[in-house]
Amino acid sequence: MRGILLALAAGAAAFGVASSARAHAFLDHSSPAVGSSLSASPPVVVLWFTQDLEPAFSGMTVTNEAGQQVDLGNARIPGTSPAELRIGVKPLAPGTYLVSWHVVSVDTHPSEGTFTFDIKP
């Protein structure tokens, strides 16, 4: 039994290692952090992903509780950091803000997500 398991595990590992492909991009972390409360308005919202992104099909918005867009519409992926997506925001008043992102990893896999952060009064 142990031999069978080891053989299967070794084959499976080789199967996985053999590929140099990429995969779905998941949000790794962000600034402001997901669900965080800040005492001052951040100048930018930055997202870091688990995979490099395809610039033409990746973007994000930041909206306030009324659904009004408060970002500067300048979402971009820095050339030196292809797994990072950032956007500038206007000075934010106290309240809750929704970050909505959609990205496509460089192997064409799309993913999306939302989260909020708060600016304390």
Partner: protein, 308 residues
């Protein structure tokens, strides 16, 4: 409106063509509904068509009522034909140990299935799938428990993430449930002296997505490997509904955990009998499961209809 970045080159145009063929937000491989990712569960059939392979799944089942114990090594492949239609194929090697008897090993029955993705609702993190599975008779060793008749099993599989409930309940939002409702229709009423009843089957998996907690609810500081884990509990029951066996429900409860990586996931669950008919004691199952669409996104990981 999501902002779109500039500098579209030829590579991006090629990508755009690819994305036009496979629309974003439509059916995605391996268990996405909007921002919700559903891992492949071990006991409960998944509510999505996929390009995935379990290689292998190893189960040590709890001792049965007669003291016999079964060990299975199983392989399952799921493959999309189109973005909404797929098939599955699987088989297993079984060893059956019965008290006072020599243990018997051999191949189990060949199992195949056809699946149609009824809907994917990203906004409500909901999935629905219709399946028709067949367990083929005379394709395994009968002494090891393989049947000498074919069974057809239609089912409805569903999934629902709770991410769309109000953000006032943040720590409930990572929860999700998947489930199956279905029947087994044997093509032979009896095998020798034993009846082959039609059965009603139902299974559920309740999972707590730590990746969803981290990405979409609150960054509580989890890092790898914990931010890729899904604690879960699965239950599955089967109840005969005819041929004099009504009410003899068998089932298991399986608490465990799944870790989902970029190209594969690993799952481990305890197997606890839920009824006296199922057995006693406990068992366990482990599974190594690969995402073919992530491993081979430009070749065999695509739906077959997009190979040419």
């Amino acid at each position: 409106m999501p902002s779109t970045l500039s500098n579209v080159g030829r590579a991006q145009l090629a990508l755009a063509a690819a994305l036009m063929i496979t629309p974003i937000g439509d059916t995605l491989a391996h268990g996405f509904a909007g921002e919700r990712f559903f891992p492949a569960t071990i006991l409960t059939d998944d509510p999505f068509v996929a390009d995935e392979i379990s290689l292998p799944q190893v189960s040590l089942n709890p001792p049965g009522p007669d003291g016999s114990q079964q060990t299975d090594i199983q392989i399952d492949l799921s493959k999309r034909v189109t973005s909404n239609f797929g098939f599955t194929i699987g088989d297993q090697w079984t060893r059956l140990r019965s008290p006072g008897l020599t243990s018997v090993g051999g191949l189990g029955p060949l199992q195949t299935g056809a699946q149609y993705q009824l809907f994917v609702d990203g906004q409500h993190q909901a999935l629905g799938l219709l399946g028709l599975n067949a367990t083929w008779g005379h394709t395994g060793r009968i002494e090891a428990g393989a049947p000498n008749f074919t069974t057809l099993s239609p089912s409805f599989n569903f999934g629902k993430g709770f991410g769309d409930i109000p953000r006032l309940l943040p720590y409930v939002r990572p929860l999700a449930i998947t489930g199956n409702l279905g029947f087994d229709f044997p093509t032979r009423a009896a095998s020798g002296s034993s009846s082959n009843p039609t059965t009603f089957n139902y299974a559920f998996a309740l999972e707590y997505s730590l990746p969803y907690l981290e990405c979409c609810v609150k960054d509580v500081g989890l890092r790898a490997p914990f931010n890729q884990m899904f604690p879960l509990v699965e239950v599955a029951f089967t109840t005969p509904i005819n041929r004099g066996l009504g009410g003899q429900t068998a089932g298991t409860i399986q608490p465990g955990i799944i870790w989902a990586g970029t190209y594969f996931q690993i799952g481990a669950e305890a197997i606890l009998p839920a009824t006296r008919l199922t057995g006693h004691g406990y068992g366990g199952v482990v599974q190594l499961h690969f995402y073919l669409d992530d491993l081979f996104p430009r070749t065999i990981g695509k739906p077959i209809s997009e190979w040419w």
